[in-house]
């Protein structure tokens, strides 16, 4: 386990567990920012002969995933002026336990996959699966709208892990386009959050139940 990639990836796994245990939104955002930074630097350690363009792109990714997106959400909740609970549907301890189970499950599942040759790290696929499913879990197990957006961002982090590390085909311009889409999506969600707060005086999604069959 002396491989630096494995060390970094275990930090990502830890951040997932932390996010399951955080009860307050600012804490959850900090965990997400940390995860964004760590996920963005993974390619630096995986690709031995990275070009200048690659390094530049990594820095841009790090700025957007680690700083701009969390800041965007942070400012949104600051305007909304609440430092409050994430309103869990599944409790924190149960979430943590589910997270541990998830990591074990991901390890077990990913042994069965035929991963392309030349991948340095054994932890890569399990981590990617864990981050992805953790994001979905946050989406489903928290009623607070902001926590749901954070879950979406975590899912995107997971997909990014699968993407950058598994294939060398995508050009940076295309990856940049994807990043820009995610950024714009989060910004629009932040705007909607502010409007939800203004209209309903809360960001509990239980209030958004008028349209249904």
């Amino acid at each position: 386990m002396s491989n630096p990639v494995d060390v970094i990836l275990s930090l990502v796994l830890l951040s997932c567990l932390f996010s399951f245990g955080s009860s307050r939104l600012p804490g959850l955002i900090k965990v997400l920012a940390f995860q964004g930074v760590v996920v963005s630097i993974v390619p630096l350690f995986i690709d031995p002969n990275m070009t200048g363009g690659g390094i530049l792109f990594t820095i841009i990714t790090l700025t957007i995933r680690g700083i701009v997106i969390p800041l965007c959400i942070y400012l949104a909740i600051k305007k909304v002026a609440i430092h409050r609970e994430v309103e869990p549907i599944v409790g924190y301890h149960a979430s943590m336990l589910a997270g541990l189970g998830l990591i074990v499950g991901a390890m077990f599942v990913s042994r069965n996959f035929d991963v392309p040759a030349g991948n340095a790290s054994v932890l890569l696929l399990p981590t990617a699966i864990t981050v992805l499913v953790s994001g979905m879990f946050l989406l489903m197990a928290r009623r607070n709208a902001i926590a749901m957006v954070l879950g979406y961002i975590m899912m995107e982090n997971g997909i990014y892990l699968v993407g950058t590390t598994f294939s060398a085909h995508a050009r940076h311009i295309v990856e940049f386009g994807i990043l820009l889409d995610v950024l714009a999506g989060v910004m629009i969600m932040a705007i909607i959050l502010q409007n939800i707060r203004r209209t309903f005086d809360d960001v509990d999604t239980a209030l958004l139940r008028t349209l249904k069959e």
Partner: protein, 473 residues
């Protein structure tokens, strides 16, 4: 030149945000006309892109492009009347978003690169979100929130699917550009396991956007809360754009010899969507939601036909074109009804035949068209799908299919008859101006004409599009 067709509306959309309020309306019509002209030129000349790795003119893309262009032009004419009659506060945001929406949808039809396709489809979500929130009510806010969150999460699945397809290239040791056309050509050497996984994720992802059940929950809310011109665009062409992503991935699957796998999944999702629509349409109390469920039904029919392949795939493309024409006209007409009666509820309307006779003609003809009455194209499309399914020997599926269509027709007819002929004491607040009925008439007439006379170039393009999945006669 190819790039200009999505750059023009993009730039115009940016400009529209800063224009004074009433200049946006003529700008919409002008850009609509320019876009239509460019699309026809592209159809005739079939130019090659400056970035052939990312963009290409494909037959299925051309069909969608022309439909988008025609619809947008007619809808933009209607919009001038609609904006005059309704009270929308931030009109320049509305027109700007409409133009950006047009630009992103055009990008979808022209993109050949898997990731560019994803970027474009996600961009359509972002560009259309402000359209749904136009009325600034708490219900429209809820609809926008659901739309953005469910579609973004869904489309994230499609991104994962696209990544998995590139993994299947790595495992299969294939090195080609990640474009649909290149991958279809080398499909046999892609790793089948990762390719299957990629297809499932892409189907779930783009299926969310297309409104396939059980991922359809955002659709009735978004379509009913958006202003009618936006609903017409959402239902008429946005769903087609998402379908295009699924169609192209299905082409890769068929070329890789996995057509049975992908076809079966498409058929199952299609049937679930039709059944879901049949369940919910029966007890609808709002007419725009009823139309939205009818869109889910038609998307189900199209997915089902594509899954069956052969003659049914040809039928599915016919349904796709005619659904766009007829459904967008119905949504525009529902805008007239909403402005006229001031109520979203079916109960709040009635006696449309006497109160708004010109709107009634468009509404009733649209209803006949969408539920598959003979003079309109959906009838032929559905007939081909049914015959194709019989030929392929899926007797149980075709039984469910026909039964659901009957139920939907009964439910739909019940509500439409209430709106058209029931007594009401409502007063009409809208004069039926020409710009607010003629776009619908034109759309319905186009569908009618295409039913009796298909230009050879259109026929060839459709056949060319479905050839890859064994379509045609």
């Amino acid at each position: 030149m190819l790039e200009f067709v999505f750059l023009a509306p993009f730039l115009a959309g940016i400009v529209a945000f800063f224009l004074p309020r009433n200049l946006g309306r003529p700008l919409l019509v002008i850009i609509g006309a320019v876009h239509l002209l460019l699309s026809v030129l592209i159809w005739v000349r079939r130019p090659v892109s400056m970035f052939p790795e990312y963009f290409a003119v494909t037959p299925e893309g051309l069909l969608s492009l022309l439909v988008i262009s025609l619809l947008f032009f007619l809808i933009s004419i209607y919009t001038t009347g609609y904006l005059k009659a309704s009270n929308i506060k931030s009109e320049n945001i509305f027109t700007g978003s409409m133009l950006l929406f047009l630009s992103t949808m055009t990008l979808v039809t022209l993109s050949d690169h898997i990731m560019v396709m994803w970027i474009a489809i996600e961009a359509t979500t972002l560009a259309s979100a402000p359209l749904i929130y136009t009325h600034r009510t708490s219900a429209s806010l809820e609809a926008t929130w659901k739309y953005v969150l469910i579609c973004s999460v869904g489309i994230a699945m499609a991104l994962l699917g696209s990544v998995l397809i590139t993994v299947s290239m790595d495992v299969g040791k294939v090195d080609v550009p990640i474009s649909f056309s290149a991958l279809t050509a080398v499909a046999k050497s892609l790793d089948p396991m990762w390719l299957k996984a990629g297809f499932v994720f892409i189907l779930v992802g783009y299926g969310t956007k297309m409104g396939l059940a059980p991922m359809h929950t955002w659709l009735p809310d978004a379509h009913s809360e958006a202003p009618s011109p936006a609903s017409a665009l959402l239902s008429g062409v946005l769903l087609n754009c998402a379908y295009l992503g699924i169609f192209k991935t299905n082409n890769i699957m068929v070329a890789a010899g996995l057509g049975d796998f992908s076809g079966a999944i498409l058929m199952v999702f299609g049937l679930i969507s039709i059944l879901a629509a049949a369940t919910f349409i029966l007890k609808q109390t709002e007419y725009k939601r009823m139309l939205a469920y009818s869109s889910i039904e038609n998307m189900g029919i199209i997915a089902f036909g594509t899954g069956v392949g052969g003659l049914a795939a040809y039928g599915a493309i016919l349904c796709l074109i005619h659904h766009s024409l007829i459904k967008s006209s119905l949504f525009l007409t529902s805008g007239n009804i909403l402005l006229g009666y001031g109520s979203r509820l079916i109960k709040g309307t009635g006696n449309l035949v006497n109160r708004m006779p010109r709107t009634f003609v468009a509404f009733f003809a649209g209803f006949a068209g969408i539920s598959g009455f003979p003079p309109f194209g959906i009838f032929i499309g559905e007939l081909f799908i049914i015959v194709g399914t019989f030929r392929a020997g899926h007797y149980v599926s075709v039984g469910i299919f026909i039964l659901s269509l009957c139920v939907i027709f009964a439910g739909f007819a019940n509500q439409v008859l209430k709106i058209s002929f029931d007594d009401t004491d409502a007063t009409i607040q809208l004069p039926e101006s020409a710009v607010m009925v003629w776009p619908q008439y034109t759309l319905l007439l186009t569908s009618l004409v295409l039913c009796f006379w298909v230009p050879n170039t259109l026929y060839q393009t459709i056949i060319h599009a479905v050839n890859a999945i064994g379509g045609g006669f």
